[in-house]
């Protein structure tokens, strides 16, 4: 039996149900075409109030999407007056594993963020670290912020905002923790909730949300969600890539309409390569919305 034969028949084109079925069919197709082992999608549109998901409660290795939780933790502390965005932080490359308390260093060659490691021995502000952690996915900036905040504070920030589906255990490149199977994990639902709170100005304060949005809008890696959108789209997002996962989670701003939040998590075989599945899903969702709005 072919894939198409397994899919439900499309209902009338002008209904939301039609759009949902169409999305479902296309997502399965993309999953098959890219040979994905797992795919998780969560979508919420502020304009139409449509919410749609696929396998959205499945836990993936978080990769760098965990940095969204760290960003949230930073602004929790700032809002509570326990941290200032202008506070200076000593940039050093030595961290402690959560498993055996052994120190470890990041492979700075891999991190490729001279904006941060060029300051070794000097300081950067909390604001600068948060900026490079998100926009260039700096692992060094991330671990420095995790050190300052503490893992418990980050998890508390998630719990206080009722964000389920994100488990933060450690910073990045903690090999001993990785070997022990202790990894940060996310679901599409969890990341969607986090981003939706920011999009709606409900994460701590409107000002905090605006600051977080501004950082996320400066994201420099654009091969995920933005690659499936028209050039004019603005996306506040965070990617996450390791050898077998490629994720993107973002808020999409299009001219003349309210934003939508989209989370796409993909997992593939190590030999498979990451491909363009995230961009393809992003494009499909955009086309579906465009079809609904302008047909």
């Amino acid at each position: 039996m072919t894939l198409a034969a397994k899919l439900p028949l499309a209902p009338p084109k002008d209904s939301v149900a039609a759009a949902e079925v169409s999305l479902y069919r296309n997502v399965l197709k993309i999953k098959q075409e890219h040979g994905l082992e797992n795919l998780g999608i969560a979508f919420w549109d502020a304009e139409t109030a449509i919410q749609w998901s696929y396998n959205a409660d499945f836990y993936f290795h978080a990769a760098s999407t965990m940095k969204l939780a760290v960003l949230l933790g930073v602004f929790r502390q700032v809002e509570r007056g326990e941290l200032s965005l202008d506070s200076a932080v000593h940039v050093r490359n030595r961290f402690t594993s959560i498993v055996n308390q052994e120190p470890f260093m990041l492979d700075l060659g891999r991190d490729a963020d001279p904006d941060v490691y060029g300051h070794l021995g000097k300081t950067l502000t909390v604001r600068e670290l948060a900026y490079w952690m998100i926009t260039k996915s700096s692992n060094l900036a991330t671990n420095l912020l995790v050190d300052i905040l503490g893992i418990d504070t980050i998890q508390k920030a998630l719990d206080e905002l009722d964000i389920d589906g994100i488990r933060i255990l450690r910073g990045v490149e903690d090999q001993a923790a990785y070997d022990a199977g202790l990894n940060n994990e996310v679901t599409a639902t969890g990341l969607l909730k986090l981003l939706r709170l920011i999009a709606e100005g409900k994460a701590y304060s409107k000002q905090a949300c605006e600051e977080m949005l501004n950082i996320l809008l400066d994201q420099q890696y654009r091969s995920g969600i933005p690659a499936g959108l028209p050039e004019a789209a603005r996306v506040a997002h965070k990617t996450g890539n390791i050898s077998t996962v490629h994720h993107d989670a973002g808020i999409v701003f299009l001219e003349g309409r309210k934003p939508y939040v989209l989370v796409i998590l993909t997992q593939f075989a190590a030999e498979g390569g990451r491909g363009t599945a995230v961009a393809d899903v992003s494009r499909d969702i955009f086309n579906t919305l465009a079809g609904m709005l302008y047909e």
Binding site: S87, R94, E102, P103, L120, G121
Partner: protein, 239 residues
């Protein structure tokens, strides 16, 4: 010592500071090191009036006072505000660092949190010479970032060769094996009493009433120790 424009830098007795600063700098208080040895915290400090002054003041040809007061958010906020305070022994450290710099043949950069740390600094978990202004953490020498065992051991040896008074921490001193990122050198717990100071007020003042509660507490401890010692002593029987 001058601020570079000829004005003298004020030396202060930290007992004369306001209550908040005294409670943060803890002059004369005893702290334990990592081997449970007791050390008395410094009491005489340079008062650095402004950021500009800190930048202008040269302790030696190549070391400015500013390098030794660089801290991040781990230092108490009050102690990050000017006027800032740094133990007078820092000038001794600068003297030795100048010699270390000459031996290395390259610029030596004291890192943030790598010079003076107050007793309230989050890295001051036990007494270290950083709290006396007599230790330096160095992350970069010339253009070399100190991140390998070979480099750190090379400069450790160089520092030890400069003077016997200099002590260094071995590579990976936290756990004894991996992942170090700086050279730590120190001169031990040196207390400097500048010639500008008149030591007419002792830690336990000569007046009948001690000035601080801890002075009274310590006096009682000493008295009680002396009394118990006297009770334990029995003169040998005559004949």
């Amino acid at each position: 010592m001058s601020d570079g424009q000829g004005a003298a830098i004020k030396v202060i007795d930290a007992f004369d500071l306001d209550d908040e600063l005294r409670s943060l700098l803890k002059p004369g208080e005893m702290v334990l090191d990592d081997r449970k040895r007791r050390h008395r915290l410094p009491r005489y400090f340079y008062e650095v009036p402004s950021h500009e002054a800190a930048q202008a003041i040269r302790l030696t040809q190549h070391f400015g006072l500013n390098e030794f007061i660089l801290v991040d958010l781990r230092e108490t906020e009050r102690l990050q505000q000017f006027p800032r305070y740094i133990p007078c022994a820092v000038r001794v450290l600068a003297f030795y660092l100048e010699q270390f710099r000459a031996a290395a043949g390259a610029s030596v950069h004291v890192a943030v949190n790598g010079g003076y740390r107050s007793p309230m600094h989050k890295m001051s978990t036990h007494a270290t010479p950083h709290m006396w202004g007599t230790a330096a953490d160095i992350y970069r020498i010339g253009s070399t970032i100190l991140k390998t065992k070979e480099t750190i051991e090379k400069y450790n040896e160089l520092a030890e060769d400069v003077a016997e008074e200099i002590d260094v921490y071995p590579y990976g001193h936290v756990t004894g094996n991996t992942a170090d990122d700086h050279v730590h050198l120190d001169l031990g717990y040196i207390t400097v009493v500048p010639r500008e100071i008149s030591e007419d007020r002792m830690e336990v003042p000569q007046e009948a009433k001690p000035r601080f509660a801890f002075e009274e507490r310590r006096r009682k401890e000493r008295r009680s120790a002396a009394e118990s010692g006297a009770a334990a002593f029995r003169p040998p029987p005559a004949g």
